[in-house]
Every structure is written in C-alpha cells, then in structure tokens.
C-alpha cells in the first residue's frame, strides 16, 4: 500500500514549514529534523485517520506539536539549554543580513513559556489563523489569542530590555549595524 501520490506530495510540501516551526520551537536544527522525521513516520503509520478533505499541513503540525510536548515533558527532568546547539548545527553559512538579529530573537523566544511560544510561532511564523492554531493546540481560540498576545508582549520586553534603553535604537537596526561592522558607538 503505497501512499497516494497526492498525499505524498502534500506531505513533502509541508516539510519546509514543519522544519521552520520545529527549529523555532526547539531551537536546535538536528532535534527539529528528528521531530519532523518522527512526525512523518507517525503520519504515514496513521494515514488512515487523515481526512482527505482536511488540511494536511495542519494535521502534520498537530502531530509534530504533540511529539514536541511529550518530548519536552520528558526532557524537563534533564538539564537543558533550549537554545544550545543551534549555531553548531547550522548547515549553511550564516547570511550576512540578519544572523545576529535572529540569534538575539531566538534567545528571547527560548525564554518564553512553551505554550506561549508555540502559539506565537503558529500564528506569527507559520501563518495559521487563530482558529487553526487552536485546533492544532487543542485549546480554545481565546486561549490562543491571549497566549499570542502575552508572547508578543514578553518578547517586546525582552528585546527592549536588552537595548538598555526603551527609546534607544531598535534592536534590528543595532544588530545590522553591528553585523556590518559599523558599530553603534
């Protein structure tokens, strides 16, 4: 029983988005790719429970999200640096623009409670609607909205506080100036 070609294609099409979500969620490329792999394994094993008229991508995100959560609960007992290993595991050389900006951003993301982080990533990064995100997280739409808001607020605080001056140059400009070696004095 091979996969329907359309199902197979839909799965592969979802992979880049799944990786983006998993990398941002876990902060580690290798761990994220393992998560995506395990997601595909489970999806194929349970392909019978996939409703053809529904969104393959959302279904896969649900599986990945649940895998991450159970793994997270397991790992919590161990000492873990959620952001550790990201740079070492980068496959491609850092791009000139934005690397430092992303680093700073990822560090801030890692400080968010997992519930808030996943909600923000699904809505702000993956582009799901609040309703879709609520279905993926198995919670109420209002809960997703409040988690996203709190995540945004906390991120803003974290990134602003890092500037040391809430009205100072925004962190992006500063990061780009630093990256291009012009410094900010």
């Amino acid at each position: 029983m091979a996969l329907e070609p359309t199902v197979r294609e839909a799965m592969l099409r979802a992979v880049p988005g799944l990786r983006a979500f998993a990398i941002s969620l876990s902060g580690n490329v290798d761990r994220a790719d393992d998560l995506v792999q395990e997601t595909l394994v489970r999806a194929i094993a349970h392909i019978d429970s996939f409703q053809p008229d529904t969104n393959m991508s959302a279904w896969l995100f649900t599986i990945l999200r649940n895998l991450f959560r159970s793994e997270y609960r397991r790992r919590r007992r161990e000492v873990e640096d959620v952001n550790g290993g990201y740079e070492e595991s980068l496959k491609s050389p850092p791009e000139q623009h934005g690397r430092i900006e992303f680093e700073e951003f990822r560090a801030a993301l890692a400080k968010l409670p997992p519930d808030h982080r996943e909600a923000l990533l699904l809505v702000g990064g993956s582009g799901f609607s609040y309703e879709e995100a609520a279905a993926i997280c198995d919670c109420a739409v209002g809960t997703v909205k409040s988690r996203v808001n709190r995540a945004r607020k906390r991120l803003a605080e974290l990134l602003a506080i890092k500037e040391g001056d809430e009205f100072g140059p925004d962190y992006t400009t500063r990061a780009i100036l630093t990256a291009t070696g012009r410094g900010v004095g």
Partner: protein, 87 residues
Amino acid sequence: MVKAEIIPTGKTPGLLNRHVQGKIGETLRAMFDEIVNEGVPDRFSELLGQIESRVSEQSKGSTAGSEAGAEGSDRPPCASNGDKEPS
C-alpha cells in the same frame, strides 16, 4: 476599504509597543522564510520512500518478501533472521 482602527490608548508606550510588535512580526516571518527557502532536504524525500516500504512490509506481513525478490537485485533484501547464511 480597510479602516485603520488603531487608536493609541493615550500613552507613548502604545506607540513604541506597536513599533516593536511590527519588528517582532517581521523578524519571525523572515526567520521562517529563511528556513522554508532551504526547501525539502533530501533526507526527507528519501525517508518517505523508506517509511512507505517499511510500513507496507509491516502491514503486509509475510508477503513482503515476494516483491523484493522480483527485481532480481544482486543485493539481498534487509537481512531477516531466517535467511542469513551462516558464515
């Protein structure tokens, strides 16, 4: 058509906050785009084929062997307990 209904609550933090919020959204999308643009690593397309055959072997049970032999490849299918020749 789209009416901007953003009315500051009367305090500067609202303005600053919106600025930072905009940056957060941009950074998040840029971060995702960068990864999405890497496309599908070979690992996953290969994996999909492998899982498919593994899953179908599991679901087909004992009939799995007959297909593998049909191509007449010089490599034996994955070593299973019984087939291995003692060396």
